[in-house]
């Protein structure tokens, strides 16, 4: 089992519904977020390109946050999901420093928090909150080890990229381009 998220940047309109859904589902404190939308404009007028992306923890295979965690609070569970155990976390910030995606933040209660791929929903057979609410259906979630899953087929048939692959983290959020 290898969970992955595939996001179609051509279908995303940047409505931030995924952000709000996550904040509601996971009771994220006000002013913080586990996922966010970026709008990247590149090129010079008149040939300008706009790309909208919903970003979050990439649940890396070679996760630097797990490697540098001194207590083992950051760990990888089945399906490759990177989680933080709140009452093992001392709030040293090493994982935040080690993340090339700046996906983690210090919760006002002290421990470090981040996207969990909605692990609690997956256990019930539901999709992550962000994927479930997306109005343009540009987000897909599934198992990469299964060659017939929707995410595997999308990655086979479409052009895609990951964020900062040069950081060597083997991220598992894919962007269709």
């Amino acid at each position: 089992m290898r969970y992955a998220m595939v996001i179609d940047t051509l279908k995303c309109v940047g409505c931030s519904d995924c952000v709000v859904a996550c904040q509601t589902e996971n009771d994220v404190p006000i002013g913080y977020c586990r996922d966010w939308i970026t709008e990247t404009v590149s090129g010079a007028y008149p040939s300008i390109e706009l790309e909208l992306k919903s970003e979050r923890c990439n649940h890396c295979e070679n996760a630097p946050c797990v490697r540098c965690c001194p207590t083992g609070a950051s760990h990888i569970v089945e399906g490759g999901i990177v989680l933080v155990t709140a009452n093992e976390c001392i709030g040293c910030g090493a994982c935040i420093e080690s993340c090339p995606y700046d996906a983690r933040y210090q919760h006002p209660d002290g421990y470090v928090d981040k996207c969990t791929f909605c692990h609690h929903r997956l256990e019930k057979g539901q999709l992550p909150a962000c994927v479930a609410v997306c109005p343009t259906k540009c987000m897909y979630f599934g198992d990469l080890d299964n060659p017939n899953s929707e995410v595997s087929r999308l990655l086979k048939n479409r052009k895609w990229k990951t964020l900062a692959p040069e950081a060597g983290t083997k991220p598992h959020v894919y962007y269709l381009i």
Binding site: S16, W36, P70, I90, S98, P100, D102, L163
Partner: protein
């Protein structure tokens, strides 16, 4: 042109516009840890070589510094934690891949050892204040007889402690300025150099001052060499590493790095120490204090600048 904005408002004050999760306590600890490692290293080596009678400051008076420095450093580290009540979780596991885990365990052994080291010199350090309890006297004697054993343990421990202050930063591949292996030896050398400077500052006999001026001069030359290597290595690196180096060379940290760390913290005290070895009369306190201040600023520059550098995608 490429411009990226956060549409959804990633309103995280510590991340945007730049990540700053580690503040002054970390820089201060890195300095104090290196300083303590330096002094403990010299004290142990002198003891192992059986020269402790010739260099009393190194083994006795300067050794008062590490327990204080490590205690202050540990307090600073805990102060910077946001979940400090769970600090004990560090000692429920040994994680070989995590430099901070290494550091936590090494500090757990080194800090008490540094106290025991001072206690083994109690009657020489405080001849007028006698120990009230008999068992304390017995304990002091026991430590005195085992001083060499402590020294054998402290040599590797102090080296790990000194290297760890650098490796702590270099283990993060997400911060390109930190992510180079030379930071370990560089911080160790800098720590040893500040340790030697403290000994020079506290020493009274000329023989000790002369020896440690020589050691310190050698360490300054090595440190300058390592800094040149760091700059060259970064310039031969990828775009993110070039960006990182540009912060120190031409960017906002140029004055702090070259003015205060390289020139005032290394080159000027190096020249003064060389003159002193040649026989010119130089007040030894000047180079020693310059090195200590330079070492402190070096930590601040590296911690602050490192957190600005990141991968851009």
């Amino acid at each position: 042109m490429q411009e990226e904005i956060f549409v959804s408002g990633r309103n995280i004050p510590n991340i945007d516009p730049s990540l700053e999760i580690w503040h002054w306590p970390i820089s201060l600890y890195l300095f104090l840890g290196g300083l303590a490692a330096g002094i403990l290293f010299f004290a142990s080596v002198v003891t192992i070589l059986g020269k402790d009678k010739d260099y009393p400051t190194t083994v006795k008076y300067a050794s008062l510094v590490p327990p204080i420095a490590l205690t202050l450093g540990l307090l600073a580290l805990v102060y910077d934690l946001t979940h400090p009540l769970y600090t004990w979780q560090l000692y429920t596991t040994i994680r070989l891949e995590s430099p901070m885990s290494w550091g936590a365990w090494v500090l757990l052994i080194t800090t008490p050892l540094s106290f025991l080291w001072v206690f083994s010199y109690y009657s020489e350090l405080f001849p007028k204040r006698e120990l009230k309890f008999k068992f304390l006297n017995t304990f002091e004697k026991f430590l005195k007889n085992n001083r060499k054993n402590m020294a054998y343990a402290l040599v590797p421990l102090s080296i790990i402690l000194g290297v760890y202050t650098g490796i702590l930063l270099s283990a993060f591949n997400a911060r390109p300025l930190w992510n180079n292996a030379i930071l370990g030896p560089l911080f160790l050398t800098s720590g040893l150099s500040t340790g030697a400077a403290t000994i020079i500052l506290l020493a009274k006999n000329t023989k000790e001052i002369q020896l440690f001026s020589r050691i310190d001069l050698a360490l300054i030359i090595i440190e300058l060499g390592l800094i040149v290597h760091m700059i060259m290595g970064m310039y031969a690196g990828s775009e993110v590493q070039l960006d990182a180096m540009n912060l120190l060379i031409g960017g906002e940290f140029t004055l702090m790095f070259f003015g205060f760390v390289v020139i005032l913290g290394l080159i000027v005290p190096g020249i003064l120490e060389a003159l002193e070895i040649k026989g010119f009369k130089v007040p030894v306190a000047i180079p020693a204090i310059l090195i200590l201040i330079g070492g402190l600023i070096f930590r601040f520059v590296m911690v602050e600048a490192g957190q600005i550098t990141r991968y851009l995608y």
